[in-house]
Symmetry: C2
Subunit: 224 residues, 2 copies
C-alpha cells in the first residue's frame, strides 16, 4: 500500500495532491530539523553526545517521534556523516577538475584530505576510525563514500603514472592504499594526539607539509 501512488495527479478534489505535497514537505522539514539538531549535538562530543532525548528536547518533540523519521540513532549519525563526506568528495573532485600537474594534484589531494579530517574530527573518527560493526556505522552509505574518496586518489595517482611521472607499480589502487595509509595516519594523529605525550610537536601545518613531501618522494622513487 504505497502512500503516494497517484502519478497522474488526479484526485476527487483539486486540493488533494496539494495537501499531500504539503504533508510531504512538512515531513521532510521535520526530518531536516532532526538532522540539524543532531548535527549540533554531534559537534559537542561526537557520537555519544548525540542522545535521542537531547535531540527530542532540541526540536520539542517526544523522543519516540524521532523513530518515525529514522530507524535508529546510527541512521541519524550516518546521515550526518554522509552529508559531511560529500564535502570531501566534492573538494577532491574539484581538485581533479583543476587539471593541475600530477604532482601538484596529488599534493593538493593530500592536503585536502587531512585538512578535512581536522575540520570534521568527529565524523572522520566515526567513519574511518572505528570498527565497522559496532555502535558506529556499517551502513552502505558510509562505505560508499569512503570508497569514492579512495577512487579519487586512485585516479590522481593513475594520472601521474600515465604521465610517466611516477613509476608504475602493480596497480594504482595498491599505491593509493599506501598513500591513504599515510594520510589517514597523519590525520588521526593530528586529530587524536597532537599535543599529547609531552612531545615536542611541530605545528599541524608543518606536519601536513612533511606528509605531502614524504608521500610524493616515495611515489617518485622506484618501488622496491
Amino acid at each position: 500500500m504505497p502512500r503516494f501512488d497517484n502519478p497522474s495527479g488526479i484526485g476527487k478534489h483539486l486540493g488533494v495532491m496539494g495537501t499531500a505535497e504539503r504533508r510531504a514537505r512538512e515531513k521532510d522539514a521535520l526530518r531536516q530539523k532532526i538532522l540539524q539538531a543532531a548535527s549540533e549535538l554531534f559537534l559537542l562530543n561526537g557520537f555519544d553526545s548525540v542522545t535521542m532525548r537531547a535531540i527530542a528536547d532540541r526540536i520539542e518533540y517526544a523522543p519516540s517521534t524521532i523513530y518515525l523519521y529514522f530507524k535508529n540513532k546510527v541512521e541519524i549519525v550516518d546521515a550526518i556523516c554522509v552529508e559531511t563526506f560529500e564535502i570531501l568528495i566534492e573538494r577532491l573532485h574539484g581538485i581533479e577538475q583543476q587539471g593541475l600537474p600530477p604532482l601538484a594534484s596529488l599534493a593538493a589531494g593530500i592536503r585536502c584530505y587531512i585538512e578535512f579530517g581536522i575540520e570534521h574530527p568527529h565524523q572522520y573518527r566515526l567513519v574511518f576510525g572505528s570498527v565497522p560493526s559496532d555502535p558506529s556505522i556499517e551502513s552502505a552509505e558510509s562505505n560508499l563514500l569512503g570508497r569514492q574518496a579512495l577512487e579519487h586518489l586512485v585516479r590522481i595517482i593513475a594520472a601521474g603514472q600515465q604521465a610517466g611521472l611516477f613509476p608504475a607499480t602493480t596497480n594504482p589502487a595498491s599505491d593509493a592504499l599506501i598513500v591513504w595509509s599515510h594520510m589517514h595516519g597523519t590525520t588521526s594523529i593530528l586529530i587524536n594526539d597532537h599535543g599529547r605525550y609531552n612531545f615536542p610537536w611541530p605545528s599541524k601545518e608543518s606536519m601536513i607539509e612533511r606528509s605531502v613531501d614524504l608521500i610524493t618522494k616515495a611515489l617518485l622513487s622506484p618501488a622496491a
Copy 2:
C-alpha cells in the same frame, strides 16, 4: 590509616602477619581474577563488551564487589591496555638491544609495531584510536606507555642519523612523528578497513612491507 604498616613484622602472635599476608594475597588474587575476566570479555568486542555485570558473572561475585578493587570500568580496561602495551615496549626494547644496523633496526621496529596492532586490535584502538577524554582512556598510565613507544622510535632514528645513514633534520622527534604517523595509519587501516570498500587489497604482509619500504626510503632521502 594504612592497612599494612607494620614493616618489622612484629605481632602479638606469630600468626598475625601470616593471616594478613594471606588476606593480601587473596585480595590480589581477586584483583587478578577480575582483570582476567575483563580481558576475556575485552577480546570479544572491545571496550563495550566489557560490562561490569559480565565480569561479575564470570568471577561469581556481585557487580558492586568489583568497585572495591577498581575505581571504575575505565581503570580496569586501562590496566588491561597497560599490560598489553608493555609487550610492545618490551619487544621494541628487544629490537633496540639487538644492535642491528640502523636501517634494519628501523624496519624491525616498524614491523613490530604494526604486527602488534594487528595482534591486539582492541587495545590498539582504545589507546591510539580514540579521543583522549571520552569513554576511553585518559589515565597517565596509557599516556606513559604511548610515550615510551615513541621514545624507542626516536632513539632508533637518532641512532641512524648519528651513524650518518639518515640526513639529520631539525630533530629526530619530528622524524619519529612522521614515521609514527605512517605506521599508525597502516596499522589502523589494517585493523579497521582491510578488506572493506570493495577494494583490491594486497595482503596484510605486503602492505606492511610496502610501509617499511616507504618509510626507509623517505628517511634516506634528504628533507625538503
